[in-house]
């Protein structure tokens, strides 16, 4: 990618449904019931079924791949999981929005600071990706 520090990258919006979480649990091996079962989620103090933190990070990675222009160019990726993404039952699900700003370009590596939101909440803390090329 060719972008200077300060460049705002195209914001991307993704929808998450409970069916996605079931598919993700099967593919990732993370069968924690708080990501599928309303009753269990509430029993541990959550407002409802929440997305795997790694699901949300995967959406950030998906945005990063798009900004990079091709898969396989992410050399670093990370975030804190600060707020849960509560996923309601039904096909409509919930939207997760990934925005990005170029923080630094150095030696062929582009550091992107992201803002990942669900409704009014920032759901990831300091999500960052470093992209090659």
């Amino acid at each position: 990618m060719t972008a200077e520090a300060g460049t705002e990258l195209p914001t991307q919006t993704f929808t998450v449904t409970r069916a996605d979480l079931v598919a993700y649990a099967a593919a990732s091996g993370d069968h924690n019931p708080i990501h599928q079962d309303e009753e269990v989620a509430r029993s541990v103090g959550l407002p409802g079924v929440i997305a795997h933190g790694m699901y949300t990070l995967a959406l950030a990675a998906r945005a990063a791949d798009t900004w990079a222009g091709a898969p396989g160019r992410v050399v670093e990726l990370g975030a804190k999981f600060t707020k849960p993404v509560v996923v309601p039952a039904g096909d409509d699900g919930v939207e997760v929005v990934v925005a990005g700003v170029v923080k630094k370009v150095d030696d062929g590596l582009t550091t992107v600071g992201m803002t990942v939101t669900c409704g009014d909440d920032k759901v990831l803390g300091m999500p960052t990706a470093v992209l090659r090329g």
Partner: protein, 135 residues
């Protein structure tokens, strides 16, 4: 609470995980990530083996914590190269740090994800927050 002797411990490598095209496609599809055979796996794919390593930590007789009482606090990846179908991956987890704050165990881990030749593919750092559950 988790015993403080856990800090510094390195667990045995996880069982080898065959990265198949079908599995990469399923992982990508679950997050709506476009994927065509021959593409590298999505960036978060190594969590599959890193998570297996975290489960072995949780199920260890000396640790014994329930997944439902664990919150994933933070995750970072640093990649030596992308993962591709055909790779055979293992993860070797080390507990970097253990703190106890407000009744919760804050467990810092690093999993070294390696290929069949033993070459490092990526480093996956996870912070796990364990709270005594009510469930």
């Amino acid at each position: 609470m988790v015993d403080s002797s856990l800090a510094g411990r390195t667990f045995p490598p996880t069982a080898p995980h065959d990265v198949t095209a079908d599995h990469v496609r399923a992982f990508a599809d679950a997050t709506g990530t476009p994927w065509t055979e021959g593409d590298p796996a999505p960036p978060t794919y190594p969590i599959v083996v890193a998570f297996a390593a975290m489960q072995e930590l949780m199920h260890d007789p000396e640790v014994g914590i329930e997944l439902r009482n664990v919150i994933h606090g933070e995750q970072r990846f640093a990649y030596q190269r992308p993962v591709a179908a055909g790779d055979v991956l293992t993860a070797t987890l080390t507990v970097d740090s253990l703190r106890q704050i407000g009744g919760a165990d804050i467990i810092g881990t690093t999993s070294a994800v390696a290929d069949a030749d033993g070459a490092l593919v990526c480093t996956a750092k996870a912070t796990l927050v364990h709270t005594a559950g009510t469930a």
